[in-house]
Homo-oligomer: 325 residues x 2
């Protein structure tokens, strides 16, 4: 089995790759479990921390370039995990780069999938940012898509393409609307949700963190561990488990930003939690405010997807996985 | 005021153009009523029945070609009515041509609009085909978009782009989800809904018509007269009349195909109505079956949009407008 992961140099792709290599087998479009023989990590930059495994192939190049895609997605590719994206804050600040990567590259990749030996499984990481405007609380699976930022718009378009191309038999697609992922390791990025990792990660490393939204702001979140499990569950689900949509609201937990800091206090103490500084940023607050914070997912749990138990456990998992203490 | 109509050689564009020329004035993005000075009809073919009016400019060229768009949509364009599309049956039969015209050309046009002297009004003719799958009856304005054919998918993507580019201030967009338009004059086309005109038009011209769906099939329909009025109402509506979406479910009437033929019988007699032959076509029936037949529009009527009174009146309007009797 040959698997391609886009955004392959990123943290999530790297975690996913390690998990897939460890697992060693996946179910293909025909429902057969097969051995993982090669895993292509495609990204615009080379991975900072390359995986040393003979099955891994790194391809570096522009995802919006059809020649790069053609090279990375060989004709015998069985599965594509499409994780590459320009994040929300950047897609809002630079409309063209968001369209180029989040829409054009997704389409180029889908078009390449049409030409493969057999229709591949295609796991697309969408986002709860596809929702916006007045919405019920919690948001049901069949809520309308009225995204209020360019990132969510581009993800919603990607979902429509994934579904239509699945319906046409070009791919066997699944669009996972991921919750905000926290705690991400590494540095802050241009995602409007970057603070949701920063306010835990930085204080635990002895550094002050700025929180740009109010403590009462609620978010729908999930740990990296659980996201990786859900990506694999989304991949493994048989086509017959889906009906008139391939979009899945991935289960998460609804947590207030103030509660997140309280959980940090409970897990790591006052000195750590006091490193969170409340410093309102209207540009970030405006984007985050358009995201629904609470969902009532049905399809995701029916496929076997899981959520974390509580935010303190999310912090503990970060400490174990990334700080190794 | 300079107006561009795409699909300018088509029946609807031609009706719209005549109505706009007669009206002579429209409201621009800033809310000022201005005199119509030039009206560009852009299409891949020249109009069969050119309008003789010094304000009309015909431009012939491929809508997916940015150079053609740039030429037709001059820098001082105030309004674009984007009517050009590959119809439902053709978009389903040929995925690539549907994507090229319904998605790529729409995007090229929107990108051109970003470069104009001022953000233009952009009236996009979407379709009730953006809906599909299990839906409430009647369908509310905020029903989810889960199109079940490529045409509806491409229109839904167009709506997402129109809204996002409106939100960014690039255009002042409005997406009108039109009911099935009947009775269209002329010849059958590759729209899956083509029969909804054919079963009235052909018998009135003494020709047998094949009806590919069952008499119990219900449809959401509107006469060309009323559609044109609604397109202009959609254009004239002030930006403040919209909230978190620019998509409008245009009011129509829900009518069974059997009732349509009964209305033809009442208006034109048995001999005419008996020219309708029930000849089931699974390919067309499959597409039509994915369209919701009944809506409960709120935003459209709030903007002043109208529906026809009943189907017999739709037939009478066709006889008056097109057969001149």
């Amino acid at each position: 089995m040959r698997i391609v992961i886009t955004g392959g140099a990123g943290f999530l792709a790297s975690r996913l790759a390690r998990k897939l290599l460890e697992r060693g087998r996946l179910t293909d479009t025909r429902g057969e479990e097969r051995e993982l023989r090669s895993l292509v990590l495609l990204d615009v930059v080379a991975p900072a921390d390359p995986i040393s495994d003979s099955r891994v192939i790194s391809v570096t190049g522009d995802l919006a370039d059809p020649a790069v895609i053609k090279h990375a997605v060989a004709r015998d590719t069985d599965t594509v995990f499409h994780l590459a994206a320009v994040v929300s804050g950047q897609a809002e600040a630079d409309f063209d780069i968001g369209m180029r990567v989040n829409l054009d590259a997704t389409r180029t990749l889908l078009e390449r999938c049409r030409t493969l030996a057999a229709p591949p499984k295609f796991v697309f990481t969408s986002s709860l940012a596809v929702f916006g405007g007045p919405l019920p609380d919690p948001v049901p699976d069949d809520a309308p898509l009225t995204p209020q930022a360019s990132y969510g718009t581009q993800k919603a378009i990607g979902e429509l393409l994934v579904y239509d191309m699945t319906r046409k038999g070009f791919i066997d697609g699944r669009s996972l609307r991921l919750p905000t992922i926290t705690v991400r390791p590494g540095k802050p990025n241009k995602a409007a949700s970057s603070f949701a990792s920063g306010i835990i990660r930085e204080p635990l490393s002895g550094v002050d963190a700025q929180c740009p939204v109010a403590p009462t702001t609620r978010m729908w979140v999930q740990s990296p561990r659980t996201v990786i499990d859900n990506l694999i569950i989304g991949h493994e689900a048989p086509a017959r488990a889906f009906a008139h949509t391939r979009s899945i609201n991935v289960p998460g937990i609804c947590v207030g930003v103030g509660e997140m800091v309280n959980a940090l206090r409970a897990v790591a103490g006052d000195a750590v939690a006091d490193r969170v500084k409340w410093n309102h940023d209207p540009a970030i607050d405006r984007i985050v405010a358009t995201w629904a914070p609470n969902f009532a997912p049905k399809l995701g749990p029916a496929l076997g997807m899981k959520s974390d138990s509580d935010f303190a456990n999310i912090i503990r998992a970060y400490i174990a996985d990334e700080l190794h203490r």
